[in-house]
């Protein structure tokens, strides 16, 4: 561009400057136009939504599809094979169970795939010909076959596991196992959180915090003095000390449960309108705070700077937003009520019982059980009597009725059925009480007793293998241990009825065949990709680094641990994150092998309620949210891993 020459050009420039300082008419004010564009876009968007949403609703109605969220609150009435709540009370809990199942398989898959992938990736670089070839074979086989086929393959493999049917030959037998493969799933021994776990967890938490500070202190000493202070070991030691003390002293923290209950009571006492007002006030305060801060920023030592149009618009938008939110909170009580309900449930129904290890409904001392066993009863009979006693009010029974019922072999369940059935066996239209019976299986007689052990004791007593006193001692032992923070529990194959066998869901850990197929398929599949990423990452570290390490006298393992892997990790991490995201999304194929993840559960909900669109929205929200969280974690670590450059 040719610079303007002479006076004429300079005058023109000046003129421009002068005109800029003038306030232009509003239709040529850049700020106003900018905001108008924003606003018109917003209104355009709203207008399009206003066209589209009724359209969608209309089309949905035309196709006999409904759209609503009421089903989240109502009971859907179907059961889920496995998860945190197999008989959920509400649609929301049903979805939650599916979501947690997806997360269970994702998290365990991520851990397993990372370990396996790293080992195979290093194996692929091994100078051992066999190891090298085997690793290549694994990678090429697994990653070149579609994941869905792998799931079908693994579910088919389950058919080669042990038969779990006592009427057939070759069946697995009832009893305790360290590890057992059955067609209903894999049972394995496991360390389970037990009665005192949450109280102990507080000790661990305190130990972890103390360990953190010890680590910090030791590390500082090491840095300043150069003296070896073992910061990691000392921190671990502190944690261990707290864990050991807590193992015995954990009942100290049982008061936490009362605290949680107290909080729940307080939350329960807050009226909905109170929270609504608080939220509205918070919105307005937030707006006020933001505007205040904004003005502070514009304040110079010479006083408040002149506010531009843009500044005014920003402040007005902030104020309007605050008002809109405040109005929203005041007009719609659902959000506030939901928040109150959820937090009350969290403290009162979820947290508080965790600190109260006596959860059984039956309050019968062991000596009393022992006396009844001595009189020839079995645990089963005692449980039946307790069930009658507990439901006496509901069933309208007197003590004499109960004795008569026991004498004639009637159980509470039978009496209940007789009441809710017509004489001809058909179901009455309504349950006369609208209330459910409290069931007392034998395992509920003593804290920590499991169904399998109860059956074993009954059988041993029936066969005269143990005396009632021995049974009582055994029960006492079980009860004493019920309050331990953790317990070592073997997998248990038991007979829920004559002619059937099943894995007890409360002992050891049970991996159902659906979970097994999904988990092993996604793990092996993702591991094959991770292996290649790991190999590439290691190869990408310059050879000179390894050579420099060995010239410093580091051993091969040391150079791998301290020199190569830390540098390789920086390269590996971003693609690794992508593989985790893939794994997360791939679990949705579990539908094909009857694993009740969020997709399978959502599909059943669609079938039962016809709510296709809301379920799809929930799926999208879940996978989008999950992916965003995962990728933000990955990004966070990725940023921390990068070289700090100046």
């Amino acid at each position: 561009m040719v610079p303007p020459t002479g006076l004429k050009g300079r005058q023109r420039n000046l003129a421009v400057i002068v005109r800029k300082q003038e306030r232009p008419p509003f239709w040529r004010n850049a700020t106003i136009l900018k905001w108008a564009a924003q606003l018109s876009f917003l209104f355009g968007f709203i207008a399009i939504a206003a066209v589209v949403i009724p359209q969608v609703q209309d089309n949905l109605e035309g196709q006999n599809l409904t759209f609503g969220w009421d089903w989240l609150r109502g009971r859907l009435g179907f059961l889920i094979r496995e998860g945190i709540d197999t008989d959920p009370d509400t649609g929301a809990r049903t979805i939650l169970t599916g979501a947690v199942n997806t997360l269970r398989v994702t998290i365990s898959g991520v851990i397993a795939a990372t370990l396996l992938g790293t080992i195979i990736g290093i194996g692929r670089l091994s100078s051992n010909w066999l190891v090298n070839r085997l690793a290549s074979l694994y990678i090429e086989t697994i990653r070149n076959i579609p994941l869905l086929l792998w799931m079908f393959f693994w579910i088919a493999v389950v058919a080669f596991f042990n038969i779990i049917d006592p009427t057939l030959e070759g069946s697995v037998e009832a009893g305790s196992y360290f590890l057992t493969f059955t067609r209903k799933g894999i049972g394995s021994a496991w360390i389970q959180p037990w009665g005192g776990f949450y109280q102990w967890a507080i000790w661990l938490l305190i130990g972890a915090v103390a360990g953190y500070f010890v680590h910090k202190r030791q590390f500082r000493i090491k840095e300043t003095t150069g003296q070896e202070t073992y910061p990691n070991l000392s921190a671990l030691g502190v944690l261990l000390v707290f864990a050991v003390i807590g193992w015995f002293a954990h009942p100290v923290f049982s008061f936490v449960g009362h605290g949680a209950e107290f909080i729940a009571t307080i939350i329960g006492a807050i009226p909905t309108i109170g929270l609504q007002i608080a939220l509205a006030a918070a919105a307005i305060f937030l707006g006020y705070w933001w505007i205040n801060r904004f003005l502070d920023e514009r304040r110079t030592p010479a006083g408040l700077a002149k506010l531009t149009d843009d500044d005014w618009f920003r402040m007005i938008t902030a104020a309007l937003l605050a008002l809109v939110f405040a109005a929203f909170f005041l007009m719609f009580s659902g959000l506030a009520r939901g928040a109150l309900d959820v937090s009350e449930d969290f403290f009162g129904r979820w947290l508080a019982p965790k600190f109260d290890s006596t959860t059984n409904v039956v309050d019968l001392p062991i000596s009393e059980i022992e006396a009844q066993l001595a009189s020839g009863l079995l645990l089963e009979d005692i449980a039946a009597e307790q069930e009658l006693l507990l439901n006496a009010e509901l069933l309208n029974l007197s003590r004499a009725d109960i004795d008569a019922a026991l004498a004639s072999g009637l159980t509470a369940r039978r009496i209940y059925e007789a009441e809710i059935n017509n004489p001809d066996g058909t179901r009455k239209d309504t349950n006369p009480w609208g209330e459910r019976l409290v069931f007392v299986p034998p395992k509920k007689l003593v804290d920590g007793l499991t169904a399998g052990v109860a059956v074993e004791i009954d059988e041993a007593l029936g066969d005269g293998l143990i005396t009632p006193a021995e049974a009582g001692a055994e029960l006492q032992k079980i009860k004493d241990r019920a309050n331990a923070p953790l317990r070592w529990s073997k997998a248990e194959v038991f007979a829920p009825r004559d002619g059937f066998l099943d894995l007890s869901p409360t002992s050891g850990i049970v991996i159902t065949r659906g979970f097994f197929a999904v988990w092993i398929a996604v793990t092996l599949y993702t591991a094959s990709f991770i292996a290649e990423i790991v190999r590439a990452g290691i190869l990408a570290v310059s050879k000179g680094q390894t050579e420099a390490a060995s010239s410093l006298g580091l051993s091969r393992s040391q150079s791998l641990r301290f020199i190569v892997l830390p540098q390789a990790f920086r390269i590996i991490f971003p693609p690794l994150g992508n593989q985790y995201l893939n794994l997360f999304k791939n679990t949705s194929l579990g539908l094909a092998v009857a694993f009740p993840d969020i997709v399978a559960v959502g599909q059943t909900i669609t079938n039962q309620t016809g709510q296709t669109v809301p379920v799809i929205l929930i799926w999208m929200g879940f996978f989008l949210g999950g992916s965003l969280i995962l990728s933000s974690i990955v990004n966070f670590y990725n940023r921390r891993l990068q070289l700090v450059e100046r």
């Binding site: 108008a36 207008a47 089309n59 009435g77 039962q608």
Partner: protein, 376 residues
């Protein structure tokens, strides 16, 4: 330039807003002639087609002109529609043939259209076939929203649970007999909900695994991954038979978990056609009630001591049959060629192990629900 863009944007937004207003007002006024929206249009078309079919009627005339009855059946449901190459049999197939016999006097003038459960109603509405005998459950929403009409129920089905006899199950087993067990069912039905309700009302705690297909369910059941199977009893019966476990598996409870009345479905609004279908079915009921079979009908008519039978055969008050729009010996041919309800049942369902006596599908005179209005 930029400014012009802004103006354009604003103008666009305004237009969009204006359009929005227009469309919304259209959708709130049903039947507005200016509706240009896909949804409104689609809905309107669907309704009109239904209405037209109704007003025009004439399915019978169409069928006569074609010379063959088009009948929608299942793609395969043991006992209901068995397909063996081009050979069709089953209770649903027999009723298709019965309608053909009533119209043409020849039970072979039928063409069968095996159809999946998803498209069965749409294809009927589109006129691919004239009547649907496809183990279809009669429900209120199908009567109203889906726009079907249903004829007399030919089979009272319901959800059942199936387990091995060897493990102590009998036809009288109750919820508490499945307490603690793992039941399997296939996705896409209401079975999951029904069985959960049944068990919980009966005081039993069950676990339920939902598998993707029917095949998966039986594979899991046979290899022992599931303890029991639950779905519609007709499916259980059929699978039990085709897989050869007739003597080993038993279906319970005696009163089904849910109500699934299966019968013919036809388009709404053609009363003449509806009457023919309904009365063809009823005639098989009446014949069964009188104990008249395909073999004995000639003798029974010759005896001539049952005026209702003579009316059905078109030999007395023949205008009753004629008014339906079919030949006066139409129903006589139905009995002669297809037989009465009990015969149809015996022929198709009894081999699967379905016992008619004592079930809902027995005649009302024997404690069942099979009942026809009088023919006069």
């Amino acid at each position: 330039m930029v400014r012009r863009l802004f103006v354009l944007l604003v103008a666009l937004a305004l237009v969009a807003a204006a359009c929005g207003d227009d469309s919304t007002s259209d959708t709130t006024e049903p039947g507005a002639a200016t509706t240009t929206t896909a949804g409104g249009g689609g809905g309107a078309t669907a309704t009109t087609t239904g209405g037209d079919g109704g007003q025009g009627g004439g399915t019978l005339a169409e069928v006569r002109a074609r010379g063959v009855l088009n009948c929608g059946v299942s793609e395969g449901a043991a006992g209901f529609t068995n397909i063996d190459g081009s050979d069709f049999s089953g209770i649903d197939v027999d009723y298709c043939r019965a309608v053909a016999a009533a119209i043409f006097g020849d039970s072979n003038k039928v063409e069968f259209f095996p159809v999946s459960s998803q498209v069965r109603f749409d294809n009927l509405k589109a006129g691919q076939y004239d009547v649907l005998f496809r183990n279809t459950t009669w429900t209120a929403s199908r009567d109203t929203d889906v726009g079907m009409n249903f004829g007399p129920t030919t089979y009272f089905d319901g959800q059942g649970v199936m387990g091995p006899i060897s493990k102590g199950f009998s036809a009288d087993s109750e919820p508490e007999d499945v307490d603690g067990l793992l039941l399997c069912t296939s996705a896409g039905t209401t079975s999951e909900k029904n069985v959960a309700e049944w068990a919980s009302l009966g005081g039993a705690t069950i676990r339920l695994e939902t598998l993707e297909t029917n095949e998966d369910v039986y594979t899991a059941f046979i290899d022992g991954s599931c303890d029991m199977v639950t779905t519609d009893a007709s499916n259980l019966v059929g699978e039990r038979f085709t897989r050869g476990f007739l003597d080993e598996w038993v279906i319970f409870p005696p009163t089904n978990i849910s109500k699934e009345p299966l019968g013919p479905a036809y388009r709404e609004g053609d009363d003449e056609w509806a009457d023919i279908i309904d009365w063809t079915v009823f005639v098989t009921f009446i014949a069964a009630e009188k104990g008249v079979t395909s073999a004995t009908i000639d003798a029974a008519i010759a005896a001539g001591d049952d005026p209702e039978l003579l009316r059905i055969a078109g030999l007395e008050s023949s205008e009753i049959v004629a008014d339906l729009g079919i030949a006066t010996d139409g129903f006589l041919q139905v009995i002669k060629q297809i037989g009465n309800y009990n015969e149809i049942y015996e022929r198709n369902l009894a081999p699967l192990g379905l016992v008619q006596a004592g079930s809902l599908n027995a005649l009302f005179t024997e404690g069942g629900l099979i009942y026809a209005p009088p023919f006069r």
